[in-house]
Assembly symmetry: C2
Homo-oligomer: 338 residues x 2
Amino acid sequence: MQKDINISEVAKKAGVSIATVSRVFNNSGRVKESTRKKIQAIIEETGYRPNVLARELAEKKTHLIGMIVHSLTGEGLPRAINGVNQVLDENGYNLLIACSEGSFANEKKHFELFRLKRVDGIIFATRQFKPEHAEWIKKLPIPVVVLLQDTQEQEIPFVAFDNKRFAKEATKTLLEQGHQAVAYLGGPENSVNSAERKSGVEEALGEVGLQLDRELIGQGNYLIESGYNEMEKIIQKGKRFDSVIAVNDGMAIGALNCLQDHGFNIPNDVSVLGLDDTVLTQASRLKLSGVHYSYTDLGRQGADMLLRQIGQEEISFEKIMIPFEVKLRETVKNKEKG
Amino acid sequence: MQKDINISEVAKKAGVSIATVSRVFNNSGRVKESTRKKIQAIIEETGYRPNVLARELAEKKTHLIGMIVHSLTGEGLPRAINGVNQVLDENGYNLLIACSEGSFANEKKHFELFRLKRVDGIIFATRQFKPEHAEWIKKLPIPVVVLLQDTQEQEIPFVAFDNKRFAKEATKTLLEQGHQAVAYLGGPENSVNSAERKSGVEEALGEVGLQLDRELIGQGNYLIESGYNEMEKIIQKGKRFDSVIAVNDGMAIGALNCLQDHGFNIPNDVSVLGLDDTVLTQASRLKLSGVHYSYTDLGRQGADMLLRQIGQEEISFEKIMIPFEVKLRETVKNKEKG
């Protein structure tokens, strides 16, 4: 470890004034070539860097963006962070990430932290957007972009997936293949996204005069094991169903394994679809059907929006819904093929 | 968005001196209760926060840790970040993450960035530790802890998995079940971890007078699809093998799917083991065998080590190898059961 060194020590080593070192470092003003080389050698040797905190203090800009996420595991949010990172990188900004692990108290602490660290803007992802979140955000002197939640009512800029719409479209596609008795495996009760997906499924069924049978509904926690267990419970009830929609791929894979263990032929007896498109769709022997929407795109659009907001005097409301695509693969029975 | 406000504006609003506001904010010195309440109400209403940059500048401490990782996708590194985050959080530090996407140029930029941002320490994860990395690190006035690479020779503190040793143990376990003809699916050539795992497999074979047959070696890129393709190539060669070891779960799952598509009975005809223990082990119908090692633990130990280093005058060399456990599940034939 080298000792930290300041500008006056560099100047002393080189036998020049502080102003001369500063001119060399900032490439400003005239400095004799031999002096420049000498100073550059000392800078190289000592690893001296100007004190950026002091500069930031003067500029009132840190070029730092704070990002609060509820989770770093799973496939989605790391991809979103990647997308944010790419855009910030292209624009000379850096990213400070804080993970709330879904705790409201942590979120509060992280908003406070980023405020204290004087970030230039915040990207906020949460499982459930609460009135308190809106209050914190309105009080901040910097712009905030929300990911994954519709904050139109609060007039807070956001980028999200249209959960209800894509769940509805996926369900319609399934119904078009001739399915009629849909079992549904949902996520945790407190997840807004999960509730939206369920209501999309119900809406699609409602439009053709069907509805979700209470006996064919399971509620789990997104994990493969919980998909397996919820499917098991439904099978035990003995009620007939011709298709299963799961809130995410984990639960869909669990359901698929459970059905196969019970001797169901997929997709001839039962079709399976996850409202998701993760690496798990490739892991099962039968390629899982689902809905594709890009978390990388979500992150990129969120960062773009935030940088636009930073450039403005006042926050202007903006929203972006990321496009999606229903992907029928091997686990859904195709009407044409019979 | 609220206008940013400074301490003198708060003082003016409250009709008190700047020193009084400061005393209230820092909970220091005596302030009349009514004045304190009045100032607190204004602080609450305006969202005023003291300028921490100025304070950090005086203290020469930012309580920020920089973490450079080569990837944010996949299961491992996000977990390691989670582990780092937990420990830093418990100790009042915050985390600045930069993702190099495996590029050496980005890594250089990120070291520079963190130096400029005056972080108190750096946690560095990379696919390949180069002499230049050691040079950068030696020049820094702050401690660095390396993750996932053995930097003992360079005397740089590190926390890693003992890839060679766990690959060797896993292979020995497989051989103890009576397997003799091992096919091996490896990762990219430039990955040190991947090379170490392969050499562990070879060492275990060597100890019982066996060796890897060139015809039974595949080389892929960690993804499911590449495991499938590499397995396919080996099957086409028509050489007999009784087991497959893959460098990670993705490639093991790909191999498993490919073998099943070719009518192999797993594990009676062929056993499959991935040198890994991700969510994918649960996704296949047959639970995949593998080696468990905790990335969360890696991150936690790395952060602990860095905080210890920050507390010292000089860097002292330290190393930690994270423990592992071989997990035989449904894809490996058990000798006893026959």
